[in-house]
Symmetry: C2
Amino acid sequence: MNVPAAEERVTKMSRTQEKSIEDDEINLFNPAILDRLPISHVSGLLIMPLRSTDYDKGFLVLLSQLTDVGNVTKEQFLNRFYSMKTAGGYYVVVIEDVNSGKVIACASLVVEQKFIHNCSLRGRLEDVVVNNNYRGQSLGKLVVTIVAQLARYFHCYKLSLDCVDRLVPFYENIGFKRETNNANYLNMRFHSENATEQSRL
Amino acid sequence: MNVPAAEERVTKMSRTQEKSIEDDEINLFNPAILDRLPISHVSGLLIMPLRSTDYDKGFLVLLSQLTDVGNVTKEQFLNRFYSMKTAGGYYVVVIEDVNSGKVIACASLVVEQKFIHNCSLRGRLEDVVVNNNYRGQSLGKLVVTIVAQLARYFHCYKLSLDCVDRLVPFYENIGFKRETNNANYLNMRFHSENATEQSRL
């Protein structure tokens, strides 16, 4: 008989399921939302939510052009990805070069729930980066504009950002403002041993 | 016989359960966390997480000393409260005057999950306010210090804030810094119709 024994069948099923889970492309947020925005598409580039498969498409390598990322394993990436998805409020937008299959730009909208302003929502622009090899094509402006459209779509009362001096003109050009008497960003930094994945949250 | 009919018993039980649900004091986060911090307690004042009962203790009235809160009903407050609790990452600390039974100061730690810095966490100090009648007792410094201790407890790599010019010295005195070339806070504000509770998130 060609029918495998029960145990063997179970093993085969498990392997199939495992592969399926590993290969399934999960979106951080509903991609249909992006279809509802007036996005200027560029030939050869895909604009989409961060996906569970983007670890292998160089998402963290791209982020390392912005700041220190560290040695994040695929498992750690997926843990963070699903933790964000479960919490809600995280909208990481990525741009993929169809030819290379790599993520070459990204920006995040992080939505904070408030009690003030009639229990409103506040948006924050975070972690904007464009691959060095793709600079000069206004992709930074494109991905930031998409985040601003998302913030408006979610009815945020404002979208804010913190940035270094040299980037102020870039963001002002997109429509952000240093408001009179209200443009201060202050930090309290903790010891470097805090910059590790933690479990207390 | 004094035993009520089955239907009557059910009605009585429902009423009891209703009352119990309404009166249950739910904490936004585990209050035991505050016990683990080196907090300087003040006689006559309780320091605790925001509770589901704080609507009736003047929490929103207090917030209205900071900015526009609007006409938020108890139901809207509770919806936002439980939405924050479900999402996680929201740590609203309140100070209650034991004599008046009112919330007289508050500050929030909002924790953002990151991929950068080894999938670390970033803290934000939000919505700090002390009742006008309690100014001059360093309660602002107390509640901000507690938020900073919470951020350190949760292993945030930094705690940041945005503020108006006149508050910069206050926060610098507590340990926040305007970093060289990196102290810019910019805003994009949306139409006022966005400042309402929404359902798209």
